[in-house]
Amino acid sequence: MDEILVLAEHRQGELRDITFEMLFAANTLGKENGLATAGLLLGHETSGLAGKLKGACDRVLVIEDPELAHYNADQYLMALETAVKDRKPLLTLIGHTAMGMDLAPAMAARLCLPLVTDCVELSLEEGRLGVLRQIYGGKINAQLVMKPSDHYLISLRTGAFDAEVEQGKSGDVETIPAPAWTNLRGRQFAGADILVSIGRGIGKPENIPLAQKFADAIGATLSCSRPVADEEWLPKSRQVGTSGKTVRPKVYIALGISGAYQHQAGMKNADTIIAVNKDPMAPIFAIAHYGIVEDLLQVLPVLTEHLATK
């Protein structure tokens, strides 16, 4: 059975409304035309999100990789290409959002697919796609009929479809292997104004969600020092320091980072540095503006709570 692929959009651990709006559109069209709906989840540690998608699609497809933890056009394009080539869907739906607008045109050019953006209605008649768009700032409606194609790429306007998609399906979760990250063009997430950076003191990968939760609570991005990247607990692209990235955020929170000079070179120009380390002699305290000599695993839950109840 032919398929409608829906690229799920999520940010900071939450599925965004557009995901459910697209699933609503896909399920409606699918029901009328005998098409199955597949939600595509690109990310890292997405099992929670997959659970929330299951009820609204016939299949949940997952590509899991640390490189996909944060949206980045290079990696997302490659992952989406992998999924599209694997599934060969009739339609692929993407949100006309900051993410989808960044992704869809390059995707279409790369795979030579017809793309219609910012659609507010969809229809299929004898395999031909019809869409309604609004042009001239919403002053004119344009009803388009597309030329026949085996595959269309479509971006949907936010709010054009109902986000209250009917639950009641129970899609199986299938994993698609992540592509080899070759020929990337070098676009990288350059960090936000607040960085929560973890070092060896995080102890084990199981403790990372604790730091992620804290970072999410303050809208920060999670980065790390070299040992964490070497252990592959976070991707190399998140590493701060001479062999990683140089950052200059407003606030840099160093958790369990001793502060070797290679690390300092990458972050010492941050406006405010707050360091948490068990070792009062850690070099990080020499350049930090504020220091907490405690175990970060003790500090994090309490601090997260304080910020949440502010």
Partner: protein
């Protein structure tokens, strides 16, 4: 830092009452004013600001008929150095991919570090051309850019996301950026300013010179089979209040009171 900026002339529709031709294929443009696409205006300004800070040359490119020279002159008056017009013949009824093909063939031999376009057009609103172009050129890109910092062989940009958030991404040059409105304050161009650049020659080219076949552009190259325009239903949802201004305001005041709008 050499910069190419792709610009487009569009009809001004904000305060215009639009009409559609009998075939339903196009809006009637005879009575409309034309100007540079708003997003492109910010892109030209950003290019000129970068040139002023880092040196280099700004080349503006458009695809359109002879009247579209006006937007190129405007861009030159703002501080661009060179201009190229791709004649629209053969490109009629192109979709965004066809327009991107034309621009790609015109800019691929122009040496540049940065390619800027507006994030979208105020007319068709495809929001595709800039990034399609980036992909054809095989270079890094970022869309919806609201801030630019030039580094050594790299560029760091702020992308505008939803809910008043931004993200910062870094990429190697050359790169393509689509510019969001509000990134800067585009300078005002006077008639005098345009007079001053009237002697700058605009380089002209066309689909044939660029080696494009009919199959790649125009209606043949487009993925759209047909487009039917209509006016959206007006006032379908709203009860339109009528009467003199005073009567309308009195009714409105009553509605506000009735609906609990006045404490």
């Amino acid at each position: 830092m050499n910069i190419v900026v792709c610009v487009k002339q569009v009809p001004e529709v904000t305060d215009a009452e639009l009409e559609i031709n009998r075939e339903g294929t196009e809006i009637l443009k005879e009575d409309l004013e034309f100007d540079i696409n708003e997003w492109d205006n910010y892109a030209v300004e950003e290019a000129v600001l970068i040139k002023e800070a880092h040196g280099g040359k700004v080349t503006v490119v458009t695809l359109g008929d002879e009247d579209c020279e006006d937007v190129l002159r405007t861009a030159l008056a703002m501080g661009a150095d060179e201009a190229i017009r791709i004649d629209e013949q053969g490109f009629e009824f192109s979709d965004a991919a066809g327009i991107a093909q034309g621009l790609y063939h015109a800019v691929r031999d122009v040496p540049f570090d940065l390619l800027l376009t507006g994030a979208q057009g105020s007319d068709d609103g495809w929001a595709q051309v800039g990034l399609t172009l980036a992909e054809l050129l095989g270079i890094s890109y970022a869309s919806l850019v609201v801030g630019v910092e030039i580094g050594e062989g790299t560029i760091t940009v702020h992308r505008e996301l939803e809910s008043n958030t931004q993200e910062k991404v870094e990429m190697p040059l050359p790169a393509a950026l689509t510019i969001q409105t509000g990134i800067n304050n585009p300078r005002y161009v006077s008639i005098m300013g345009i007079q001053k650049v009237r002697r700058i020659e605009i380089k002209e080219t066309g689909s044939k010179e660029l080696g494009l076949s009919e199959a790649e552009i125009g209606s043949q190259g487009s993925s759209v089979a047909s487009q039917k325009l209509s006016l959206p239903p007006v006032g379908e949802g709203a009860e339109i209040l009528t009467g003199s201004l005073d009567e309308i305001c009195e009714k409105t005041a009553q509605i506000i009171r009735d609906k609990g709008g006045v404490m």
